[in-house]
Subunit: 323 residues, 2 copies
């Protein structure tokens, strides 16, 4: 039998709560094609898998590559990922995705090539370690500040997954008995810093009579929620409530990151995620200051960098799964 | 040249802020001799090293072994340890020990055998992993609840030291802008749970007019501070202030341990240290309950055990350094 000749090119798909980002990369991990679409809200995992396959086909088309000729496609997914089978369950930010769904098998069938599935935050941290701000470091703490706050760990040059659920930096307690978190616990870092929790708090304060232009800006720009772009516009307008809630998030991030650094003493902290990338330049000096305030060893803070791979980080990390 | 014939026996010394524990073990790590003495408060590192050598000689004598015939002596020390040279600096719980002091070299000269020095909490965690409650586990979070709260990490079967300062679980922030910690920061777990911080808080509350028998019990039993034994007696007497401060410590321990578990997802948490061993039976159900309350993954809590090696854990871990 003639072996099937595969291109050295690979695909990567980052599955987020709001959007799906697909890319095709060459052997040097250069992005040669990309496509992005919203994550479907109806139709459950089947609809999401269909949209993912379509996005990857479109990325392939823009790179002039048939998906079936790719060496493979990697996927970074939220929820609980079974790396061995490609099944995903409890994808909390995605609608109607509690039961296990065979995402890898489904996509492999649709695209005609092998598919590997990993945890979204884990693959994004790995991408920064291999190709981005973490290059040359042996230990990396990735902090992904977006809808929630996720964490990725590289320790001694290897990803650390614990029993499969490590990296939940967003659920480190920064204020015992504090604000209720979307996870149901109290005082988690994410209860103050997650985009979703921040939006809920803004709504509560508006109900209590506080003023803000956040929701006007949201309506004006036709957004269904307070996106990172809306928060940025509100800050640019000097919106007091937005400033207060961002300052509150920054303090929680600083305390939570410091806690993780005190425990693990990594060489570098990398701030990514939708809000992290959007606000990296603007807010990382303040986040860093609040982190350093809470370090045990004030004389040896870790390096602190914004994710270098930006919006493609998750998809690049996914593509590394099939490298 | 005839090689020097060394016994397979080894020594171990646990250097604590209040006491020095020395042991001699055989090839099976059975303790065959031991001695304990108070840590000298005057004379700085030189006096401490002299007391350590004397304690090890006494342990050797009770085991019928000359120190110079031991295969080696391991030391678990607080502060910053340079494992390569055996030098120790910034031993915060020990008086007048800020500058680097060549503890390993000094002891090696005094005892006539090689000496290896490691971090006290790190070696105690390693002992539990090799010989105690952590046997058979791949990842261990050791929590040493005593004068301060120290942490030790075994990840993937290996100790994790980060850049040299990992494991400061006592300085994870459990209440942002909370109580002042002996380290100078605010809201650390140790600010609520460390024996030293608890004693300071008890004194403050007495000055504010609250009633307690803690200090009467301390005087009655001739103790210079509120030892774990004094706290236990006060609880046995139903002392309200003692109950409140212990409950506060338990909540902080639960939140901080949960934060570490959410980040690392270890197989087992082991509670050791002076207070941890003393109160393990009595309080670990409550500590565990507060930990589980703050876990992100409520369905998969780690195992939770009290240190199995008790008071000898630190010295046994030290002896493993020269195994």
């Amino acid at each position: 039998m003639t072996p099937i000749r595969r291109s050295p090119k690979r695909g990567g798909i980052d599955l987020g709560g709001t959007k799906i980002q697909a890319i095709v990369v060459d052997a040097q991990n250069t992005v040669i094609g990309q496509a992005r679409c919203p994550t479907p809200h109806d139709g459950g995992p089947e609809a999401v898998a269909d949209a993912m396959a379509a996005a990857l086909r479109e990325a392939g088309s823009s790179a002039g590559v048939e998906p079936s000729s790719l060496r493979g496609v990697g996927v970074g997914s939220p929820g609980e990922v079974d790396a061995a089978t490609g099944a995903v369950s409890n994808a909390k930010n995605l609608p109607a995705w509690t039961e296990s769904f065979p995402l890898g098998t489904k996509l492999s069938g649709a695209l005609g090539t092998r598919v590997a599935v990993g945890n979204d935050v884990g693959v994004a941290t790995h991408a920064e370690y291999e190709l981005g701000a973490g290059r040359g470091h042996d230990s990396v703490l990735g902090v992904f500040w977006g809808t929630g706050v996720g964490g990725g760990l590289i320790l001694g040059g290897k990803q650390w997954h614990g029993r499969g659920s490590a990296g939940e930096i967003g659920h480190m307690v920064v204020k015992r008995d504090g604000a209720r978190c979307p996870c149901g616990n109290h005082g988690c870092m994410e209860a103050y810093a997650g985009r979703s929790a921040m939006e809920s708090e803004a709504r509560r304060r508006v109900e209590d009579g506080e003023h803000t232009d956040l929701f006007k800006l949201m309506a004006k720009h036709g957004k269904p929620r307070l996106t990172s772009g809306i928060w940025e516009r509100a800050l640019d307008h000097g919106d007091k409530l937005a400033e207060q809630l961002i300052a509150r998030a920054v303090k929680a991030l600083g305390a939570g990151i410091a806690s993780a650094v005190n425990l693990l003493d990594p060489e570098i902290v990398i701030l990514g995620g939708g809000l992290g990338v959007r606000f990296g330049e603007r807010l990382s000096p303040e986040i860093r200051r609040h982190m350093e305030k809470n370090l045990f060893d004030h004389e040896h803070p870790p390096e602190f960098e914004v994710a270098a791979l930006g919006d493609f980080g998750g998809a690049l990390g996914a593509a590394l799964l099939v490298a």
